[in-house]
């Protein structure tokens, strides 16, 4: 049975090309694709909690394709596939007007696969890979309408922020794996005592939190999320509210048992979370675009979740789980409603949308139900979430209770503006009368909104099977809290009433409040989004300046700079390391060898000093053949013959090419250039000479030639050891080398053809 666990992400992954090809041929089949997440949803329900599956991958590093289903991953996987079913159904209709719909659906499927892989993974490295895959999918989906500059910018921003965070997280993961001695998450959590005293732990906490904060849009990395609303609405509903942005929260929750006793962990999470909530709430009130408004409220929700995980209290874990579920339900529903309004009424401006209720009654019902859950109306699951939230948040000393009250009031305003205002009041003017969309587009928002009511009326449906296992996974032990029990004390109850009243008053005043907030342009000019822009601008300025300095376009400069750096650096190391020395055991040269070396040196000097190119070629030939004869006297007969034949062919080729070119002109270097280049060249030669001497001063170990000599005949049936090395001992190297030769010949042939073509 457990192999089904690994099958779930694989199945989705394998479906990607099929979706792309199938939908290109038959676009009308798009809504039927919803069967895929629905099937996966069913498969997850089939699996027992605690199911594991493992295939070793890099076993020497303790890395494997390990998957595990516990309460938390089950909750996430069910959200991904459950909401996914609705989103796929919705997109099937919503995206028909877009070109490349098949590509959209394929990337959406890829995203779902990556997401499932990330939440089911029990190995940190595997989780990281899927994590980054979700960032890539998000990039492609935000930038889906790539002809719009805003979409391109948002896609790039989202990718840069989440992937930079991801890099920090990778460093944290590597440290964590080193500290714990394993990358398997369940083992890390089981042996968490090791981490309690480990010196790496503070670094791990900071680095992992950076990755999670970037992914889950925590202050000050939150700016990418509202901008990501440039994506088509189903993406906003699915990736940027219900699932992907929860991945950071998920990992924080997943690792919480290991770090929850660290003050750094608590401070970091509650601090960032609280700031995020506050920022999101203020900017949500300021926004008039429905989708961006919802995005800011998502930022608030993510801040709330991170704060809850940072609080060391059993009730906080349950509150986090319930709120995560509730938020996914109502927020996805509201986003889809915003998409429907955008499509049917032609605008997403909250100030303009009015009186649509009588034209779109079903949409209005979905919106109202979702909004009631969001505002925490009694009878809805949102009420329970709010109840738990207030009880936890108001119990904390410090600023958090005040922030929580204000933020919750702001959320009431958002719920009202997004879901109530557009459907009541004097009907707006429209070119075409708006009406409810068809079943495929209404199914998801209605179902999700109604589920909010159903779970609220019958909390037993999810209490034991879904909420408790997930909360226990966050806490690292059972919580002992049953959903539906009244948690709130009297004072909390009255405070929540105050919040509701405050929210409704602010909602009624919102049309006057919004322009005043919008006038505060400093919020834009000095916010993280502006900082991101200046950062990118300065990066391109600095790299431009450096490039201008370094990339001069002069080949001579490049060679000179490379030589000076390389040999200068070597000289420093050589002198600093005290590596200067003479060969340890040096046989005296035979007289003819000394003469040969002198001849080659003379040839090299002549090649530099002669003026005429052909004379220089001949001098170079003297060097080549001289070196060949030298090889012969050194007992390297094979080399000598190779050198002779290669030199001959090279000279023939060189002369044949030079004969076709006006290469006869003299070296155009000026006198001082000659001097400078000569100085560089001689310097490099001296350093090279000293370096080689230093190498030769180290005693030589003859083990390798001895072994090769002894093995050549018995094992490889060859007496010429050089050839045995080439065709037997190191045959794979030789195969690589002849492949390189073939590639060089291919490249030259292509180059020749193109040059001839001109």
């Amino acid at each position: 049975m457990n192999w089904i666990l690994a099958l779930i992400p694989c199945l989705a992954l394998l479906a990607v090309p099929a979706v792309a090809l199938g939908l290109r041929a038959r676009p009308a089949l798009a809504p039927a694709l919803a069967l895929l997440p629905a099937t996966l949803f069913g498969l997850i329900l089939l699996l027992p909690l605690g199911a594991t599956f493992r295939v070793d991958w890099l076993s020497s590093f303790g890395i494997g394709f390990a998957f595990r289903l516990d309460g938390l991953s089950q909750l996430m996987a069910l959200l991904i596939t459950g909401i996914g079913t609705g989103i796929f159904l919705f997109s099937g209709s919503y995206m028909t007007s877009y070109p490349k719909q098949h590509r959209f659906m394929a990337v959406l499927t890829l995203f779902m696969a990556a997401m499932l892989g990330a939440v089911l993974a029990d190995d940190l490295i595997v989780l990281f890979i899927f994590w980054e895959l979700t960032s890539l999918a998000s990039f492609m989906l935000i930038g889906f309408e790539a002809h719009k500059p805003a979409a391109r910018r948002a896609a790039q921003q989202g990718l840069l922020v989440t992937v930079s965070g991801g890099l920090a997280m990778l460093a944290g993961i590597l440290l964590l794996g080193t500290a714990a001695g394993t990358f398997t998450i369940s083992e890390i959590l089981a042996n968490r005592a090791v981490l309690a005293t480990h010196a790496f732990t503070p670094w791990i906490i900071v680095l992992v939190a950076m990755g999670c904060f970037a992914k889950s849009a925590q202050w000050p990395l939150h700016m990418w999320l509202p901008n990501a609303m440039a994506a088509p609405t189903p993406v906003s509903a699915y990736l940027h509210s219900a699932t992907m942005v929860k991945l950071g929260v998920y990992l924080l929750a997943r690792l919480n048992p290991a770090f929850q006793e660290w003050a750094l962990w608590q401070g970091l999470l509650t601090g960032a979370g609280t700031l995020t909530m506050l920022t999101g709430a203020i900017l949500a009130l300021r926004e008039r675009d429905l989708k961006r408004k919802l995005a800011w409220s998502t930022v608030v929700a993510l801040g709330t979740l991170v704060t809850l995980i940072g609080l060391e209290e059993p009730l906080a874990a349950t509150a986090a789980v319930v709120f995560l579920l509730v938020h996914a339900l109502y927020k996805a529903s509201l986003f889809l409603v915003a998409g429907i309004l955008d499509k049917k009424a032609g605008t997403r401006d909250a100030l303009m949308l009015r009186g649509l209720g009588r034209h779109m009654p079903l949409t209005a019902i979905a919106a109202l139900l979702a909004a009631l859950s969001m505002a925490g109306a009694p009878g809805f699951i949102g009420y329970m979430a709010k109840d738990l939230l207030f009880t936890v948040q108001l119990g904390v000393p410090g600023l958090l209770p005040v922030v929580a009250l204000l933020v919750n009031a702001a959320m009431v305003v958002v719920a009202g503006v997004v879901a109530v205002r557009p459907f009541f009041g004097k009907p707006m003017e429209m070119e075409r009368e708006a009406k409810d969309p068809g079943f495929t587009m209404l199914a998801a928002p209605l179902t999700l909104a109604i589920l909010g009511l159903v779970f609220g009326l019958a909390p037993a449906l999810i209490s034991v099977n879904l909420v408790e296992p997930a909360a226990a996974a966050i806490l690292g032990e059972p919580t002992g809290i049953a959903l539906g029990d009244k948690q709130a004390t009297e004072i909390v109850y009255y405070l929540s009433l105050v919040v509701l009243v405050l929210g409704v008053i602010a909602f009624l005043a919102w049309t006057r409040l919004q322009p005043r907030l919008a006038a505060q342009t400093w919020l834009d000019d000095y916010g993280p989004d502006a900082a991101y822009g200046s950062l990118l601008r300065s990066v391109s300025l600095i790299s431009g300046a450096v490039t201008r300095r370094v990339q001069t376009g002069s080949l001579r400069f490049y060679i000179g700079a490379t030589v000076v750096l390389m040999f200068g650096g070597t000289l420093v190391l050589l002198v600093a390391g005290g590596g200067l020395g003479l060969p340890s055991a040096d046989p005296l040269p035979l007289p003819h060898q000394a003469v040969l070396v002198g001849l080659v040196i003379a040839g090299a000097v002549a090649a530099c000093r002669l003026q005429m190119l052909f004379a220089q070629v001949m001098a170079a030939a003297v060097v080549g053949f001289g070196v060949g004869i030298l090889f012969l006297t050194l007992g390297a007969a094979d080399l000598a013959f190779t050198q002779f034949t290669v030199e001959t062919i090279a000279i023939v080729l060189l002369v044949a090419i030079l004969a076709r070119l006006p290469f006869r002109e003299l070296d155009a270097r000026r006198r001082e250039e000659h001097r400078r280049d000569g100085a560089i060249a001689i310097g490099a030669g001296v350093v090279g000479f000293l370096t080689l001497l230093a190498v030769l001063s180290v005693p030589f170990d003859t083990q390798m030639p001895d072994w090769m000599g002894a093995a050549a005949w018995p094992e490889a049936k060859g007496r010429n050891v050089v050839n045995v090395i080439l065709v037997d001992f190191r045959a794979l190297d030789t195969l690589g080398e002849i492949a390189v030769l073939l590639i060089a010949a291919l490249a030259a042939t292509v180059l020749l053809r193109r040059a001839r073509g001109k």
Partner: protein
């Protein structure tokens, strides 16, 4: 290209002498100095001489296949030589095998591959510049 009568007349014999010599060097390479690299280069030298004397067109006619094709065949030989170990004997790729106790084995095929690649490679560079 103007060439001497002697070169023109001797080109064919020099070519075949070179090819024979190169094959001899190739085959004795396992026990004495020689082998695929040197053999291939000596063979190429013969063809280069032929092209100098008679022009590249004549040489291409003798070669029958494009130099690159010869080189490709050579690479194929090199890869094929490595396969028996993997497919028949369960040893790593390119572990050379022999026919019983004879010195004939996959090394010969491998060295022939090197020979052909080097020959084709050198000619692919030189022949285009011998064309009129």
């Amino acid at each position: 290209m103007k060439t001497s009568f002697i070169m023109n007349a001797s080109a064919r014999y020099v070519l075949w002498a070179c090819v024979l010599l190169s094959l001899f060097v190739l085959l004795r390479g396992h026990n004495e100095p020689g082998g695929g690299f040197i053999g291939g280069l000596i063979g190429a030298l013969g063809f280069v001489f032929h092209a100098l004397a008679r022009g590249a067109g004549a040489t291409r006619a003798v070669l029958r296949l494009q130099p690159l094709t010869w080189a490709g065949i050579g690479l194929l030989c090199g890869i094929l030589a490595g396969l028996p170990a993997m497919l028949l004997f369960g040893e790593p790729f390119l572990t050379q095998q022999w026919l019983g106790t004879t010195p004939i084995g996959t090394t010969v095929l491998f060295d022939l591959g090197v020979y052909l690649v080097v020959l084709g490679f050198a000619l692919a560079f030189v022949l285009p510049f011998m064309e009129a």
